[in-house]
Symmetry: C2
Subunit: 166 residues, 2 copies
Amino acid sequence: MNPIFERQSVRKFLDKEVSETQIENLLKAGMQAPSACNQQAWEFIVINDKKDMIEISEMHRFAKPAGEASKLIVVLGNLKEARLEYMIEQDLGACCENILLQATYEGLGAVWLGFHPIEDRCLKIRKYLNIPDYCIPFAVICVGYPAIDSDVKLRYDDVKVHYGRY
Amino acid sequence: MNPIFERQSVRKFLDKEVSETQIENLLKAGMQAPSACNQQAWEFIVINDKKDMIEISEMHRFAKPAGEASKLIVVLGNLKEARLEYMIEQDLGACCENILLQATYEGLGAVWLGFHPIEDRCLKIRKYLNIPDYCIPFAVICVGYPAIDSDVKLRYDDVKVHYGRY
């Protein structure tokens, strides 16, 4: 099974626990991403508590799935660890994608909720989770068993491919 | 085979052609990435010509593998297509990771060469490939058959994982 072509954003979840081992596999996948000069300037907060998940789900209008998921993974960028700070969004984008793909691989569903660089979203979650100044709250990944059927569309569009020159 | 845990940066390649079908599979994988509001503001230039590949390999000190690869995929962000321009690095990071993972899945090797947001690198490649002002030259992915053995280290580090709060 190639998770790249099976992955979809899952925003509705069954009332069924995701195990700690599964979350650990997702974190292992995230940390396996490439990063600029191999800086690996990522950290993670795992959220398990229903009250916290509901608070986070109310932080912005696209965050609703956080209230329904089994667990959340908050992905942070640690600017103290980043030698190439200007590459950190790229690194963390790859890291989040690995987490989503691993979720698919495990038979789970997930969705990536954007926070950074939207200031009011970042302020709210930073305060709520005691995230220090030197970390950016990059994204929240909601994880659970999918309550939707697979409906993946191939997005390939050959108009977007050039050969030799633009 | 789960490509997440098999992927490594490959900078040495065999003198063996990567097929057009394989490149198309890599592009399909790239375009299957999630993006903010599903904006899919990516475009690609496939480079096949040895002279072009050598020119690109000389554009910065980490770009050497481009001269040895079978083909290059230049990943661009189209700012005219981006509704959320400030999310484009994240989207393209996920897109590049999908390309690297698909390469692994196909038995190929690949490495991600950073360009954006380093100005002098971007200027050089923009000029050489006629990339318009509204596109950012995000990264170059070198693709070929690996001339190195697999040597993947698990990067998991539990110090980077917090529970409940930072």
